[in-house]
Subunit: 335 residues, 2 copies
């Protein structure tokens, strides 16, 4: 009554026989309706419908090498930062007539390999988000299938990234305008390309704007990481703090509150990403908005373009602009 484990389903041959035509004709009736007699096509459709025929896309892929699917690989489906990215990618895929699949790696390189190994052949392209793999492993994959890397630069592999430098600069300017003279960076994962860029961006801006900059960390890019960072920061306070991302900023605020402090009265805090949490939290978080949606759209479009044989698949990273969103977690310094 339920599902047949090995139930052989209707094939193109069954339909061909039932309709009294050659298999290739059936195939054509589905893939190039124009190239087949209207009546014949109609009959074939009818027979197919009656027999409950469903094309097997994977078998088709074996000869066409196209599956009309792309995969987005991410470390953690639960991380709100990915929501808009996924939405964007799905939108772009849908518009192009593709289906987007998602695979989670649980932050594990081993799992990422396993996923890739299996999913690779079922899709026409891959968007790699927060990959744990080495640059060379990624290059390896990119040799086999179109790959776009998100928020990381891997030589030889096309990528699309957030403009971390300018984003951090805006954060620094904002703090400067509010009268802050020192700022502490709460560092995220050491190995992270984004962390490197954000720290560099803040440092460079600090030099120009005469803002004293120091850093604590690295910490995991999570709420708990932020709490931990608060403890370290407390040993040598600054009037302002910029976190690697929103989650850390939120954790930091929680940590400050736990120590009896208040945000922004005692310390101004700026996050990064503008994930959906940043406006839910109290006080609402001032943050550098990453172009999450466009990141997803662009990545998906580009991977499809490559898959369709785009010529100038330059290896230059596409960099997308950020925007500072001022909310309640930052305030002018008291004289």
């Amino acid at each position: 009554m339920a599902a047949p484990p090995g139930g052989r389903s209707t094939t193109i041959y069954d339909v061909a026989k039932a309709a009294g035509v050659a298999p290739s004709t059936v195939s054509r009736a589905f893939s190039r309706p124009g190239r087949v007699n209207a009546e014949t096509a109609e009959r074939i459709r009818a027979v197919a419908a009656e027999l409950g025929y469903r094309a097997n896309p994977q078998a088709r892929a074996l000869s066409t090498t196209r599956t009309s699917m792309i995969a987005v690989i991410l470390a953690d489906v639960t991380n709100p930062v990915f929501f808009e990215v996924v939405r964007g990618a799905e939108l772009a895929a849908y518009e192009a007539g593709y289906t987007m699949l998602l695979a989670e790696t649980q932050e594990s390189a081993e799992r990422e390999r396993a996923v890739l190994e299996r999913a690779l052949s079922t899709v026409d392209g891959i968007v790699l988000t927060s990959s744990r793999m080495s640059d060379s492993a990624i290059r390896q994959i990119a040799k086999v299938k179109p790959v776009i890397v998100l928020n990381r630069v891997v030589t030889g592999v096309p990528s699309v990234v957030t403009d971390n430098l300018r984003g951090m600069r805006r954060a620094a300017e904002h703090l400067g305008e509010l009268g802050h003279e020192q700022v502490c960076y709460l560092a995220g994962p050491e190995a992270s390309w984004a962390d490197g860029m954000r720290w560099r961006g803040l440092r460079e801006a600090g030099m120009e704007l005469e803002l004293r900059v120091r850093r604590v960390g690295p910490y995991p890019p999570t709420v708990n990481g932020g709490v931990a960072a608060a403890a370290e920061w407390a040993r040598q306070r600054t009037s302002a703090v910029v976190a690697y991302n929103d989650q850390m900023a939120i954790g930091f605020m929680r940590g400050v509150r736990a120590m009896g402090g208040q945000v922004p009265r005692d310390v101004s805090v700026v996050g990064f990403d503008n994930s959906n949490l940043s406006e839910i939290v109290t006080p609402a978080l001032t943050t550098v908005a990453s172009p999450l949606h466009s990141l997803g759209v662009t990545a998906a479009r580009n991977v499809l373009a490559i898959s369709r044989g785009a010529q100038s698949r330059s290896t230059e990273a596409v960099v997308l602009p950020t925007k500072l969103v001022v909310r309640e977690s930052t305030s002018a310094i008291e004289a």
Copy 2:
């Protein structure tokens, strides 16, 4: 330099030739290492590694009909209710040596069909969450591939569901103990099986416990839906409210606050699911906890069991127990 759109990758034949053996031997060396001379196998592995050979799971699937992947289809990856379900399913899949793929349908039946059409042949089984398809369409799919339906009962298709009846009963008991004599149900989507069960559970419990029960709605099962429900509720207030799910409960609280009311002083509210939002929100939400994680684990395990030819794939729904989690949004009624 980048990815080859049509770059033919190393096949089993290349390896066979390079290693000086028959293709079938290479195949065996990978799938049944025991059945091939140890040295030969070693040599083959070496050659394969050197050539960067990667098996094509889809081609393999064509003859074996197994891909070692399962798919979980859901309406909205962004919905926190699914987080634990996905986690559970992924865990069960991983433990069984399978890879889990996720596909989003954006609440659209059309998209759901498209996804299924394409993904169906690339996986060994499907877990259908919040499906928009008709019972018969689902039965159709289940005829072709192992399917488990989550939180919905479709005759002839195995499913695993939350014990909505008992869950609602517990909610009612809790409210009764607090002295409430009337409760309003904020209805979710009309077509939803879960909504039907929850409403029925509350009504039945109400009769036994002498709790006057009424309902408003239906509304979309979202925060905004809850806000809307609050407006309708306000026209004829009750001292307690039970929402179809947490999101609606949260929206309801927001609505009440906007009208100048306070929770739980003016109205006690109970949610359903215990999604991760329920403890973040203020006041923290009293809610009926769905067995989210187990739902995912059980669904994945069962779909795999069927796929491996489980015999007694009974069509009875597996029902998993709920648990009432009391937080701050409910309080005793003032005399």
